[in-house]
Amino acid sequence: MTEVEPWQPRVVAFCCNWCAYAGADLAGVSRRQYSPSVRIVRVMCSSRIDAGLILQCFEKGADGVMVLGCHPGDCHYISGNQREEVRIQEVWELLDLLGIGRDRLVLRWISAAEGELFGSTVDTFVALLQSKGPLGRLPDGA
């Protein structure tokens, strides 16, 4: 008989190509262990991520979503991360209205040199989701 595996949250992490993705890469190259619950999606800029994509993640069975971009002032496209910050405020409001709760979405700035920060950010978020438990799924949700 196999043991029932403990529940693991499913996390989607949207990482910007120029900073956060390179940060995640650095975490990997430096052999920094971080939670395997996270699924990284590389995007060219954090501002690519709109409310529709985030809601779609929750709809398809994510328990949490992370949007990781460059530090303010470091954006490859000058101000993409600032635009994203404005947009995430709205998504937080939507998540509260929907009963999902704003703490299931985080926005963090991680530079290409911050592999350690990437690892600890992921671990903290996954630990939070583990304490909150799974998000209710749609009957036909993945």
Partner: protein, 383 residues
Amino acid sequence: MERDDIFRRFHAEACIGCGRCTYACVAAQRYDSFSPRKVVEQGLNGQGGERVPQLWSCTSCGACSQVCNAGVDFPRLVRGLRSLARRDEVPMAAHHGVLNAVGRLTSSPSLRPRSASWVTPDLQIDPRSRSMLFVGCVPYFDVALRYIRNDLLELPRSAVRLLNALGVRPRLDPSERCCGHDAYWAGDDALFERLARENWQAARDAGVEEIVTFCPECASAWRDLYPQVVGDTGIRVRTMAEVLAEGIAAGKLELGAGEDVVTYQDPCRLSKCVGIVEQPREVLRSLGELRDMPRSGPMSVCCGTSGWVDCDHTAKKVQVERLQEAAATGADVLVTACPKCLVHLSCADRHHASELSSRVRIEDMCVRTARRLDRERSSSDES
């Protein structure tokens, strides 16, 4: 249901090919490639292939069946074709698909939406009332469409204020779900049925006897669409237009007449689906002078898009034309009774102002009435 059954079921065979539908159709005005007459003709002849071009641009406003001599139910025919088409094509969602996602997410039985966060302390809500205000998606609009209008929460607030003035303290469903209207017309039967059952069960378990709504789509869903899923709902559905018209006729609402000249945009669900044409006009006449546009009542023109899909510059053209028609009546204010008409027309007014020779203010019927009530009360307090 297969393709041929759909054409048979909605009486397409009765079509005489007169083309009145295409003449009345907003989607045909937007796209040369879409024509209700052609869809029916090609469907009956087995031509045109499986795919109907611009199928998602139909707003299911019902203008076509309104003018049809033969009794073809074209909006439901399109709905049937959509439920087949959605197997392999996805409509282009407007506003990043946020509002479509809200419908799907709120259908999850384990989520408890908190959509009643707009309530302010001055509103009298009674959690044991038998009469419930069904709010709809406006709290979500207020977040996702704030860049178009930032006063959308005034709609539910005004509705409660007016109900309070009429002596009704409504209850709210603290975890209300989407009404499913858009899912129904997009041909998503599974989602619509799930939402209909959940909303109906929540209302029934709470002992609700009457539902009041200011959104014509919610009214149409509760009144005409839910019985298709759950049978007799046992719940009376009334729109704010009916409630207000009754209240004014009974002399329960003290509204002083104003100087403004207004015109009225008939929301398609209210005028064509639910059949309420006169009541909102009675309300507006009690507030001032009403000047109808040439295309009004059941022959009114749709605000351009519906279901949060397929919005583009052609839809804006329809809306700009409508705004010009409104301004040409000499009215200062264009009043509507549907949150979606309000958003769509405000969007055109805001983003295409340069194309408008003269502009009208765009307001909601409930908000306007509630504001007049406030003004009337404060002036009687002073005197």
